[in-house]
């Protein structure tokens, strides 16, 4: 499934269970299976979209790759280095090469720091620039995300949502990373600003030769920016393929249902097409169903779906799907 030389990031058998504790002794009574055994890779220079409903483990996956949790299982190979084997200090240094853009532009900026301090902090942390060079680089970062350098002395609350997200992007770019996890970077923004930010991210990717893991729940946004797309459901990847292939030829019933929910901006077309409305809720990740995770909501569920968990199968080219219907 992978070619070690051109893959920038490789995730192997990633598990992330959050313990549910009870009582005075904090006994572990159950696990929230946020990420339940997933593997994928991201090639150098490409953008992998990661979609799924709320609570399916998208964000957790992104944060696991960046080693922001202590108790994950599995291996994360970044540019040939296994991040899970690094010591704390080594990992801290490695963070230079991988950055995170957050969903909420209001919560992710320290309210007591000025925009300049926020953007310059990574430079200071990694000792990359000092004095005049530092000031020049911060000004350059401001311009890179289409903000004015004179705004450096303002505090986050003096900026709009879109501007704050630009500050977050500039902070991620400060250390010249090669890989950025974009964790729903536009979900908290107005639709008009979403497009601006997406265009900015695309431009930066091309100019700076970045690799993205683009997490979102909006399929139309993902389609625009991604080379390949992975669909997650309840902690597992159900389908992964190139963006065009996914939209043209979805195989997993969940992907099909998800795509049918994307609004089409043409009432005539929208009225005639078939919409699949899923019944029920996403099962609890504490106690996922037996067999295929999707079987309680799947219209085409068979007996085998309630017994056996389907594996990700290659159906030709780069198209992989985890469904018993797929041969």
């Amino acid at each position: 499934m992978s070619n070690a030389t051109e893959n920038l990031v490789e995730v192997q058998d990633l598990f992330m269970y959050f313990p549910v504790t009870a009582g005075i002794m904090q006994k572990r009574v159950a696990d929230v299976k946020a990420v339940d055994g997933i593997s994928f890779f991201i090639k150098k220079g490409e953008t992998l979209g990661l979609v799924g409903e709320s609570g399916c483990g998208k964000t957790t996956t992104g944060r696991c790759i960046l080693q922001l949790y202590d108790s994950m299982k599995g291996n994360i190979i970044f540019d040939g280095t296994d991040l899970t084997k690094l010591k704390r200090e080594q990992m801290r240094r490695m963070r230079r090469y991988m950055q995170l853009i957050f969903q909420d532009p209001f919560a992710s900026l320290d309210p007591r720091m000025t925009a300049g301090e926020i953007i310059g902090e990574p430079l200071k942390v990694h000792g990359l620039a000092k004095g005049q060079e530092y000031r020049d680089q911060v000004a350059e970062l401001f311009r890179m995300v289409e903000l004015e350098p004179f705004m450096a002395d303002r505090y986050p609350h003096e900026f709009s949502g879109g501007q704050r997200q630009r500050i977050g992007i500039a902070r991620a770019l400060a250390v010249r990373p090669s890989f950025i996890v974009c964790d729903e970077p536009v979900s908290a923004l107005d639709v008009s600003i979403q497009a601006q930010i997406i265009i900015l991210l695309e431009r930066l990717r091309d100019e700076l030769n970045l690799t993205y893991l683009f997490i979102a729940h909006d399929l139309s946004v993902v389609r625009n920016i991604s080379d390949r797309v992975a669909v997650m459901y309840l902690g597992k990847i159900v389908e992964i393929t190139s963006a065009d292939e996914l939209y043209a030829n979805p195989l997993h019933p969940y992907t099909i249902a998800l795509l049918s929910a994307v609004p089409i901006p043409d009432p005539a077309v929208d009225r005639t097409r078939e919409r699949i409305i899923l019944t029920g809720d996403v099962p609890s990740p504490i106690n996922p169903p037996r067999g295929c995770n999707f079987n309680p909501r799947c219209a085409q569920a068979m007996d085998i779906c309630r017994e056996e968990t389907p594996e990700l199968k290659n159906v030709g080219g780069e198209h992989w799907a985890a469904c018993h219907l797929v041969k």
Binding site: L66, L68, R92, R93, R95, R96, Q99, L100, F102, D104, F106, A107, S108, L109, D110, P111, R112, M113, E121, P122, V125, H126, F150, M151, A152, D153, R154, Y155, H157, E158, G168, R171, A172, A174, V175
Partner: protein, 332 residues
């Protein structure tokens, strides 16, 4: 500094708020918290009297006039004299200096100890927190005065000993407040952001957590100040605090004052009054500070926060009320 000037061109309103937040704060204090203002004035008087005690006091604190023993309040001795002929006003003024030393010194130490323990315990959590907090529990459950007495009995009486003893012991107790504030602050996404850019734990603690738990720390300081002054007075009253002849308000209440309470009640009344007034003032000021600085009462984006919106809604209510009344009059 020139960068700042350029920035100022962007938003004059916001700029004004940023530069004069302290002034803004005092306006709020005076307008919204009259009792807090009263308390603040008392604290200010304590500080001024404490600092300039040598200039303000008409006599030295230990100047004895054997011809004026237990003189009631009069023109020469405004507050009267004690049983060995010392001017009570001068002793109260010098006592203010001691109270100021103890209040500021112990409260500073309190805050330092509380911040250290609270930051470490709250940020690292887990086993570190468990062990540290059991130690804190052990100190908290012990009756405070007993603990002070025991420690003072070991280290001996004296101003520095009192400050250290009170500051460290109350600091361990107030670390709980800092800890809970830190536990709240570390949940913020910007702490994750700092971690993901590769900040060390020390940097996150000092640059991101500490500035965001400053409000509770200021509140702890004011509360600790009042508590420390009372604790010092109690210790001195019991003879374990500041040794005579240095005038401490607590010490002035004990011994001779009690003995001559019927003949010369002013000997006990003045230090008692000074003590009550100062601690009352500090507590009022502290309460007002807590209300004004409480992060739950402050909004995020507007800067003026809940105060601004509260004022806006009040103004709106007033205006609509006026409008309705005007309309009612017209229709009549």
């Amino acid at each position: 500094m020139s960068d700042r000037a350029v920035g100022a061109a962007g938003g004059p309103v916001l700029e004004a708020r940023r530069h004069f937040w302290l002034v803004d704060f005092f306006i709020r204090l005076v307008r919204e918290k009259p009792m807090g203002t009263f308390g603040g004035v008392i604290v200010l008087i304590l500080l001024v009297v404490g600092i300039f005690a040598d200039l303000l006091a008409p006599f030295g604190y230990n100047y004895i006039n054997l011809k004026a023993i237990m003189v009631p309040p009069s023109a020469g001795y405004i507050l009267g004299t004690d049983n060995i002929g010392r001017d009570l006003l001068s002793r109260i003024i010098h006592g203010a200096r001691i109270s100021m030393y103890v209040g500021l010194g112990a409260a500073t130490l309190d805050v330092v100890v509380a911040t250290l323990i609270g930051l470490i315990s709250g940020y690292f959590g887990g086993k570190v927190d468990l062990i540290l907090q059991r130690f804190v529990d052990a100190v908290i459950v012990f009756p405070a005065l007993f603990f002070y007495l025991a420690v003072m009995a070991i280290v001996g009486p004296g101003l520095l000993q009192v400050i250290f003893c009170i500051g460290i012991l109350t600091g361990i107790g107030s670390s709980r407040l800092v800890r809970s504030a830190v536990m709240g602050a570390k949940q913020n996404v910007y702490v994750d952001a700092a971690k993901s850019i590769g900040s060390s734990n020390a940097r996150i603690l000092i640059r991101h957590i500490l500035p965001n738990v400053f409000a509770p720390i200021i509140i702890i300081f004011t509360i600790a100040m009042g508590a420390a002054i009372i604790a010092e007075a109690s210790l001195s009253f019991l003879g374990f605090g500041i040794p005579p002849p240095i005038p401490s308000w607590g010490g002035m209440l004990s011994g001779p004052s009690r003995k001559y309470m019927v003949d010369a009640p002013w000997m006990a009344i003045w230090p008692g009054l000074a003590l009550s007034l100062v601690v009352y003032g500090i507590n009022m000021f502290g309460d007002a500070l807590r209300d004004l600085l409480d992060p739950r009462l402050r909004g995020g984006v507007g800067g003026m926060g809940a105060y601004g919106s509260e004022r806006a809604s009040k103004a709106l209510a007033k205006r609509t009320e006026k409008g309705l009344r005007a309309r009612a009059q017209k229709s009549e």
